[in-house]
Amino acid sequence: MILFFIVVFALGVPASLLIDRDRSWIARVGESWYLGAGLVWASMMLFWSPFPLLVIALLLFRRRGTTHRLRLSVFDLTTLITIGGYALFATAAAPWEFDYLTDFGWKARTFFERGGIDWTFLRTHVDALPSFNPSYPVLLSSLYDAVALLSGEWNDRFLGLVHVAFGVAAICVVRAELAEESRFAALGTAIIAPLLLSPWIGMGDGPVGSLMFAAVLRLRRETSYAGAIFLGLAACVKQEGIAFVVAVAIAMLVTRPSSGLRPPSPRERGEGTPETPLPAARGEGGRRPGEGRLLLIAALIAVPWMIAARLHGVTGRTFHAHIADPRPLLGAIAHVSIGKPLMWSGILLGAILCWRALDRFLLVAVAAQFVFYVCAYLASSYDAEWHVAHSWERILSQITPILVFVIVSSLAKTLARLYYSSSTSEQWPLHP
């Protein structure tokens, strides 16, 4: 397991330096995990070993970067304690979720024992179990396989650490992003952190939610290659990630109609006039790709698996059951508990208070994804009540952190403006 993390970061750090030379160290840690995990997955797909790309990465990438210092606060300790507790929880036993036993883990173990992606196995087990989705991308299963290959045997005891890493990576990214815009970064991170630590160990929801979260946080203010890559990687974990690429495209079109999906203008690229100079695009040496190009990058990462699956005759099930009569589904959704009523009350209050300042791009992306979820339920052939009861909370956990981030970051900015405009920071004994 230790060797696995060394390999992931040995791949991820050079890739992170190549893409973003200028990041805070905490963002570098999180983003290196995502990029390293993506490269391990690519290497597994191409060579069924994590080493070939590692050799290439170490030979080719010798780029040095700069890292910003980050001021830590007492609230970071709360986040660390939360992460520690989550790590204990996630590694209490081998992944125990049903979908691990009948999908993600089953695929990984079978591929490991058969020495590669077994297309025949995927093709012939479409109807084995309702929870088995042969056409799902296999990034997560491939990471499990990389762990097994590096340790020389199938040992699932500490595979939960992969899920811890995805949660921590998202926390690192949100900590870095909040630090750039608010003095309440540590407090905001401590609030959001539990939502980024998915309790469904062995399922794809934690990793896909983590990647979706990191992707839109990087894409909300700037056109970022890293954000596009995270978006593409999300599409390699679960089908919801594929839908999220479309949701982000919709958000770009709706909230940035002036730029649409075209490449940025010279001014947008950071080439401002001498009178009104604009800061260069953060961390990418002033080169900013167009949003259309970013979506193309995300699609290029996601599409090879779909093509390969199609070429090997691996298809998903055909769903269409509730489209004709959506009432049972809508009834089931109306009756399912939304969970965390305090949090939703806070979100509502925060949205009212900061309505003008809310990040429209993130809100539209979340709303579009929510619509896709409902459409997926509409197309499901399972009993609506059963399906909603067994997956609603888990599915929503993929987008809830983004929504909470929108509100918390707006509230933090509002509070900072109110406090620091009328008082001095000395009145705050704890730097939040």
Binding site: T82, F89, F98, R109, A128, L197, M343, G346, V404
Partner: protein, 141 residues
């Protein structure tokens, strides 16, 4: 007005923090005992005591590629059989796991029968392995 906004914002943050807070990740520092870990390790099998251990034995008794029929200790799909059948796949990976409730004809394809909490007499099969949790029958002709 400014003061009201300030307190409302603090209240909103406090509500979100309280709602998002996950007490388990704090309580676990006390909970994390061998008993807790054992409970988590058997969590998916708690309705069928010994099933996880039995499938581990079956894995050791069989070879990759063999076709294993899961004996209907629970004769109905929705009343227990699906539970024990679905949990066989992961532990018995690289073997073909056969359902004999929805497709009884699968008995004719099976190399072995894994019978949890049962020792059935099946024509053409003989019990070749036995444990406290069940038996393994292998085709004899």
């Amino acid at each position: 007005m400014k003061n009201a906004t300030r307190w409302a914002a603090v209240a909103a943050l406090a509500l979100i923090a309280a709602g998002a807070f996950e007490p388990l990740y704090f309580r676990i520092y006390r909970l994390d005992t061998p008993a807790f870990r054992a409970m988590m390790a058997t969590r998916q099998y708690r309705m069928a005591p010994g099933l996880q251990r039995f499938y581990g034995d079956v894995r050791a008794w069989t070879k990759p590629g063999e076709r294993i029929a899961i004996w209907p200790t629970f004769p109905k799909w929705d009343e227990g059989y699906e539970y024990i059948y679905a949990r066989a796949f992961y532990i018995l990976s690289s073997r073909e796991v056969l359902d004999v409730v929805r497709a009884p004809q699968n008995f004719s394809r099976a190399d072995v029968i894994a019978a949890w909490h049962a020792a059935p007499e099946v024509p053409g099969f003989a019990i070749v392995q036995r444990s406290a949790d069940g038996t393994l029958l292998r085709r004899v002709r």
